[in-house]
Symmetry: C2
Subunit: 143 residues, 2 copies
Amino acid sequence: MFFSKTFGYAVRATAFVALYSENESRVGLREISEALDIPHHFLGKIMQDLVRHGVLESMKGPHGGFSVNERTADIKLSEILQITDGTLALETCAIGVRKCNPDRPCLVHNDLAAFKAVMVRSLSTRTIHELTIQLKEGKSFLF
Amino acid sequence: MFFSKTFGYAVRATAFVALYSENESRVGLREISEALDIPHHFLGKIMQDLVRHGVLESMKGPHGGFSVNERTADIKLSEILQITDGTLALETCAIGVRKCNPDRPCLVHNDLAAFKAVMVRSLSTRTIHELTIQLKEGKSFLF
DNA sequence: AGAAAAAAAGAGTTGAATCTCTTTATTTCT
DNA sequence: AGAAATAAAGAGATTCAACTCTTTTTTTCT
């Protein structure tokens, strides 16, 4: 696949927090990991990273957990991808042709180039806010 | 990426053999691995597998090497993918939503479903013969 | 027959992603 | 102040794809 599992976990967890921490309440790591069926220690590392990069807020201690901040709603999927994966795996040629480029395409280049454009656009325009709307309307699902 | 490196190596090597073994001559492992810049021991394993599955023929000894057989030209990319990867990595949900399906799509399901259809179709219709034509016409490149 | 060439086979190494376990730091509540 | 809850941090363990190295088998050629 062209994104890591970590990316999927990060997107789903962020959307989950955005849905369930809207008032003052926070969402605990355990709650997220159980709802989304993600190994909780592993998710812990991912959440740390998201907090470090300002995607979410966290608090330790009783009633601690994760919550949104003023930026969260406007975070784009591409920002999360950058945090978890560094770069989109579609950058390199799918079948390993070193000099593959639009003027010198590999055997599957054109099929992929069209898709890549769609994917890059989608990642760089979709925000967490949009995802939560889809979820609230029952148009897409987190688990 | 959604295919393994092994798949890319296998497709490129098969196309290379199809191009350069048309008369009675065979193509050696070393020649393939050097032309396509693929680690040769690793390629050896892949070639074995292709021969075992009837995609290519091989001969040991002096003047040995790999050559096409009567099936080679009609082999589809999906057959090679089956041999190297077992299955297309697009089968499972890209962000790990377990119950993801068309009636209950995850956040990126629809973007991906369209692409997957194109990709599956392309893999299951393109043959080695078509690839060699593209290569001969200079419309695509192997390295 | 024997040497050389080449693929086949087997076994080991590496690195990265994923996952697990343990300890530490912070916050809240009594 | 002390206990409990919770995230943060650190340090493995596991798995798998990708790669490397060595030995064996088969074939050809002199």
